[in-house]
């Protein structure tokens, strides 16, 4: 275990250097836990911003062209609280950008990945602490650039989060958001650099710095999710970064990667061209489809850990779970064309993408069955983290199954770019990932801060979020079945859709309820920092390594050298004296057994 030795050298070296100042301990910290918390606080703030942006969209769809009370004045004072068509495009562009690039991706990999990886594998820190610090601070240029893009007068970036050219490249196509689109592209590039730094670090740490006895197949599924995600990022991100630069060059230097020869939009200068708008879509989705899994695999891992813990029972089918995570990731690279069935891509190619996309539903199904198998025959404790994790399973069933509709190419002809798609990815990303993230926060909060969050408030938060989320998103399937298109500031002047306003109003009020409910969460989160019940090392009775470290763990994480004797899911093991069997507890019959590695 030479890598462990190397790791602790780095630690000694570091602690002498960073002893003193507040700045180096809490601001430019190289401790993975502080960096994880920095990511957590930043992303939670952005989560709130993204939620308000969503309310702007919902308001316009419920009460088009009317003044939006309270939030309207906060979000867009320049508009006098009324949403203009230009501003509407900015709203949905920014809602998606913030939620995907500033919330989901960094909260999973940045916050939980950082906090949990070294603790769960028994390391004292990441392999590259400085790189880790940089991965957080490279988010700040992105925050500023996207923020600047939002506030650039007169309108922010409005090309959608997909930034499809020529709309996103030719300034004249979107008057008023010219520089905003460039700022947006640069912002996304910084997010990419940050994720890349994180991904290299996570891969190296998981491969090199596991504690003695921690074999790959003794890793908690959270770590497997993070590991596969890191690999996905490492392979997919360079493509997005390169494509982003190509688009910036098209915008600023007059190249024509994505513009056909001679294209004129609104009397713009004819494009020097020779390019292809579809090229961007291929490059973009080559990253952004794997990104869908970057946004859910770590959540699947965390949910597996939480469910096994509170079912007090081993995870059902550990290896099939690992293989299905890997299978999803592998197939994830050959399905991107399903976003392009009606884009003008060769329809014959659509058929191959349909088959690969259908097959990716298989590992997802295997995971659902294994979660059900895990709770079958258990002794379920309905704690707040468990409730959120169970709702992940329940909501992921809906989001996974609705995906089959759009994988079917002929059906996709009708539902592509309608609210059916919007329903689908909100079930996966909100019903799935966001609910898992809430569960994970309630679950690991005592480890992070040494205090419990309030369970009663947590359950109220869960109940209301669960009700409102289904009220908002389930009805979207029905809208989608009518063909109700996305991204329309006022769909009601179409005869086909004019009768859908009452249902949209219902959804909007559910969305308002959902955002308001998060105040309970914010209150609970903040007040528990000061008044929560103090806890010991292992308040939930869990097996994995982080629960044998102090709460919160000090610099260097463990006050002993962890040695691993078994996998993390041996709940209810006949040998164990308690209803859990920690990974570090030596087996009773042969306490001196040497762990294999």
């Amino acid at each position: 275990m030479s890598s462990i030795t190397a790791g602790s050298h780095a630690h000694e070296h570091e602690s002498s250097a960073t002893h003193a100042s507040f700045i180096s301990t809490y601001v430019f910290s190289r401790d993975h836990k502080i960096i994880g918390l920095q990511f957590l606080f930043s992303t939670l703030l952005w989560f709130f911003v993204g939620g308000l942006l969503a309310l702007g969209i919902r308001w316009q769809l419920a009460y088009p062209w009317t003044n939006m009370p309270i939030i309207g004045k906060m979000l867009f004072p320049g508009e006098g609280g009324q949403i203009s068509p230009e501003f509407y495009t900015t709203l949905f562009t920014m809602h998606a950008t913030v939620m995907i690039f500033f919330v989901i991706i960094p909260i999973l990999a940045g916050a939980f990945g950082n906090y949990l990886i070294p603790l769960m594998i028994g390391a004292d820190d990441m392999a590259f602490p400085t790189l880790n610090m940089l991965s957080y601070w490279f988010m700040w240029p992105a925050f500023f650039l996207i923020g600047a893009s939002f506030f650039t007068a007169p309108y922010g970036a409005g090309g959608g989060w997909t930034s499809y050219p020529p709309l996103s490249v030719v300034n004249e196509a979107a008057p008023g958001s010219a520089s905003a689109q460039t700022l947006w592209l640069l912002g996304i590039t910084f997010v990419g650099i940050s994720s890349m730094m994180g991904s290299v670090n996570y891969m190296t740490t998981i491969i090199q710095m596991r504690a003695p006895g921690m074999t790959m197949f003794r890793l908690p599924l959270t770590i497997w999710g993070m590991f596969i995600t890191a690999i996905l990022q490492a392979f997919a991100l360079p493509v997005l970064t390169a494509a982003g630069f190509m688009q910036v060059m098209d915008r600023l230097l007059g190249t024509g990667f994505f513009l056909p020869e001679g294209l004129i939009v609104n009397n713009s200068i004819p494009a020097s061209g020779g390019g292809q708008p579809l090229l961007w879509q291929h490059l973009f989705w080559f990253y952004s489809h794997p990104a869908v899994y970057i946004m859910i695999l770590p959540a699947m891992g965390m949910v597996s850990d939480i469910i096994s813990c509170f079912a007090r029972k081993p995870i059902f089918g550990y290896k099939p779970m690992v293989y299905s995570i890997s299978g999803i990731a592998g197939l994830g690279f050959i399905v991107w064309g399903h976003h392009m069935f009606v884009s003008g891509m060769n329809p014959v190619l659509g058929m191959t993408f349909m088959v690969s996309t259908m097959m990716i539903a298989l590992p997802s199904a295997v995971k659902v069955f294994n979660w059900l198998g895990t709770i079958w025959g258990g002794k379920i404790e309905f704690t707040t983290p468990m409730l959120f994790s169970l709702s992940f399973v329940s909501m992921f069933i809906i989001g996974g199954l609705s995906g089959i509709f759009m994988a079917a190419t002929p059906v996709d002809i009708f539902i592509h770019d309608t609210y059916f798609i919007v329903a689908h990815f909100h079930y996966v990303l909100f019903g799935g990932t966001a609910m898992a993230v809430f569960g994970a926060i309630y679950f690991w909060y005592p480890k992070m801060f040494g205090r419990m969050m309030n369970e009663q408030l947590g359950k109220v938060h869960f109940f209301l979020t669960f009700i409102f989320l289904n009220g908002t998103f389930f009805t979207m399937h029905v809208l989608g079945a009518v063909g109700f298109p996305r991204r329309l500031a006022d769909p009601y002047h179409y005869d086909t859709f004019q009768h859908l306003m009452p249902m949209n109003r219902f959804m909007t009020w559910c969305a308002i309820g959902m955002v308001a409910t998060q105040v309970i969460f914010a209150f609970n989160f903040i007040s528990s920092l000061f008044f929560g019940k103090p806890v010991g090392r292992n308040p939930w009775g869990c097996n994995s390594l982080e629960w044998s470290a102090p709460s919160p763990p000090g610099h260097g994480n463990f006050d002993f050298q962890p040695v691993v004797y078994r996998g993390p899911y041996e709940y209810g093991h006949p040998d164990a004296t308690k209803n859990h069997y920690p990974q570090i507890e030596p087996p009773p019959e042969n306490p001196t057994e040497v762990p294999e590695h």
Partner: protein
């Protein structure tokens, strides 16, 4: 509390199926026309049937898995289940079973729908002619593609339509121009050439189950056979800028006689009007 939470998860399949059933079957306020819009194209039912097939198939899986979730939560509530947990790590047989069954189902769906996709997007209508060998249905057959009846051009933020004039060819000086006003004869296979002048748009006919993005630099064909007369929406379904929401056209399906009459009228109006659109492109 375990009972309460189990019932909450039971509400998911109950209400989920309830909402879909109500949307499909109710035709009064507040749920009138809250399902697939009226289908007026001859092959539209193929897509609707596929949609429904997948709906029922996934519906069964949704209800089954959700009920299993509910039942396990109800039965294995830690407060009620006082025996030891089932200490097991999985089942090889079960993993194989629940891999093979979904895999076969998914593969079946994928193959089952390929013809529908080919009809909609690949097999452009045309007449098959014998090739050099003088026999039909051999490898050297030629296909004489049906010519488009009109060309539809998306631009910020309208649909420009030009009909082949008397010469039957689009793109000549006798073309008839309209904006956002597409007329088509009923009960005839129609081919439209669609393209874009500026950014991406998407030509979406909800009532014909037809959607195709239009891409600058590409010319594409779409085809369908209207089977009912009436007036329907043309929707732009791909973000094309601030005015995307108002890029609305109308499609009027009428009898061949009415259609010819309308086209002749348009031609006359165009010749008389001093605002006749000049040759563009």
């Amino acid at each position: 509390m375990g009972r309460f939470w189990s019932l909450l998860f039971l509400a998911v399949p109950v209400l989920g199926v309830g909402v879909f059933a109500a949307a499909m079957m109710t035709d009064s306020w507040p749920l009138h026309n809250h399902w697939l819009p009226r289908d007026v194209s001859e092959k539209g039912y193929v897509i609707d049937n596929l949609f429904n097939t997948i709906l029922y198939l996934t519906g069964v899986i949704f209800v089954g898995t959700s009920l299993a979730l509910f039942w396990f939560l109800w039965k294995y509530d830690g407060e009620k289940n006082l025996g030891p947990v089932r200490f097991l790590h999985g089942s090889h047989t079960l993993e194989v079973v629940w891999s093979i069954i979904p895999a076969a189902t998914l593969l079946f769906i994928a193959i089952y729908q390929m013809n529908a996709w080919a009809d909609a997007k690949i097999d452009r209508p045309g007449t098959r002619l014998a090739g050099a060998d003088g026999r039909m249905n051999t490898e050297d057959d030629l296909v004489e593609f049906q010519l488009p009846i009109a060309q539809v051009t998306g631009r910020q933020f309208e649909w420009r339509i030009r009909y082949a004039g008397r010469d039957g060819v689009v793109g000549t000086s006798d073309d008839v121009h309209t904006v956002n006003d597409l007329h088509l004869p009923v009960d005839e296979e129609v081919v439209l050439q669609i393209k874009s002048d500026d950014v991406l748009h998407s030509f979406f006919l909800p009532n014909c189950r037809l959607k195709q993005d239009v891409v600058p630099g590409m010319k594409q064909m779409v085809w369908f056979k209207p089977k009912e007369v009436g007036s329907f929406d043309i929707v732009c379904a791909e973000l094309c800028g601030w005015g995307h929401y108002k890029m609305k056209g109308r499609m009027t399906i009428q009898s061949r006689k009415d259609f010819d009459q309308w086209l002749t009228d348009q031609e006359r109006i165009q010749q008389e009007s001093s605002f006749a659109l000049s040759e563009e492109e």
